[in-house]
């Protein structure tokens, strides 16, 4: 289960609306002992800057490395990745799966006509064949 505060969730939805019709993306930092709790976001510029960014996002290895180091200085870990699906369901695509790693929570927010709709979270199966939906618990 992914625990995330309502303000952080609203921050993701707000960013997704702001970037629409392009895809937003970023990293979710937090702690995980018995529970996976997201405590802050790290928005990342989508490194795909052409028309593809309406349906693709990319976070470079260099940005990811910087984020890992930043998280470590805060005593946090990168626990997941969020991105938006403009005018599409909040369901991972085959491309999402091909580029995914186990462990991370993949949070997707659908944006329909500039309005954020559903938010879902997914974990890659260890055999890479599918995503498994993860419950989200919104903390007030």
């Amino acid at each position: 289960m992914l625990k995330i505060s309502i303000p952080i969730l609203e921050e993701i939805k707000s960013e997704a609306k702001k970037i629409y019709p392009y895809e937003c993306c970023g990293l979710m930092l937090g702690t995980e002992e018995k529970e996976r709790i997201i405590t802050e976001l790290l928005p990342i510029n989508n490194s795909i800057i052409d028309n593809q960014s309406r349906r693709r996002f990319s976070i470079t290895a260099e940005d990811f490395l910087k984020a890992e180091l930043l998280a470590a200085t805060k005593g946090l870990s990168i626990l997941g990745i969020y991105h938006s699906h403009p005018d599409h369901k909040a369901v991972p695509s085959d491309f999402d799966r091909e580029c995914a790693l186990p462990f991370y929570s993949y949070l997707i927010v659908s944006v329909e006509q500039k309005e954020s709709k559903d938010v879902t979270s997914w974990l890659l199966s260890e055999n890479r064949i599918s995503f498994i939906r993860e419950d989200i618990l919104e903390l007030s």
Binding site: I59, A61, L65, E68, P92, S93, P102, F103, N127
Partner: protein
């Protein structure tokens, strides 16, 4: 000639939770082979069905991406630090098919 290899959080479940491994090899390819021999289950996430390094998996030698060096043939020396760093990507299907994924 042991070389340090730092494992990202996402893959530590395959390395008994270890964040750093010391592996023997002359170049990056040999180090990754040593890794997958020691921890076979990690291979699926690093290499595709053609045995090529997955496009989103990056290896850094210090602060330099081996893509900007000699790739998997990049030579390593004792005391070098290698880092496995994922690039993250995703998005929608190629054909826009609204709400029919």
């Amino acid at each position: 000639m042991p070389v340090s290899l730092l494992i990202p959080t996402a893959l530590r479940g395959f390395t008994e939770g270890k964040a750093e491994l010391f592996l023997e090899g002359q170049n990056v390819k040999e180090i990754l082979i040593a890794l997958t021999e020691k921890y076979p289950d990690i291979k699926l996430h690093l290499f595709d069905e053609n045995n090529s390094l997955r496009s989103f998996i990056n290896v850094f030698l210090g602060e330099r991406n081996i893509k900007n060096l000699q790739g998997l043939d990049t030579q390593v020396n004792q005391g070098d630090k290698l880092l496995l760093i994922p690039a993250i990507a995703g998005g929608q299907p190629k054909k826009r098919d609204p709400f029919q994924r």
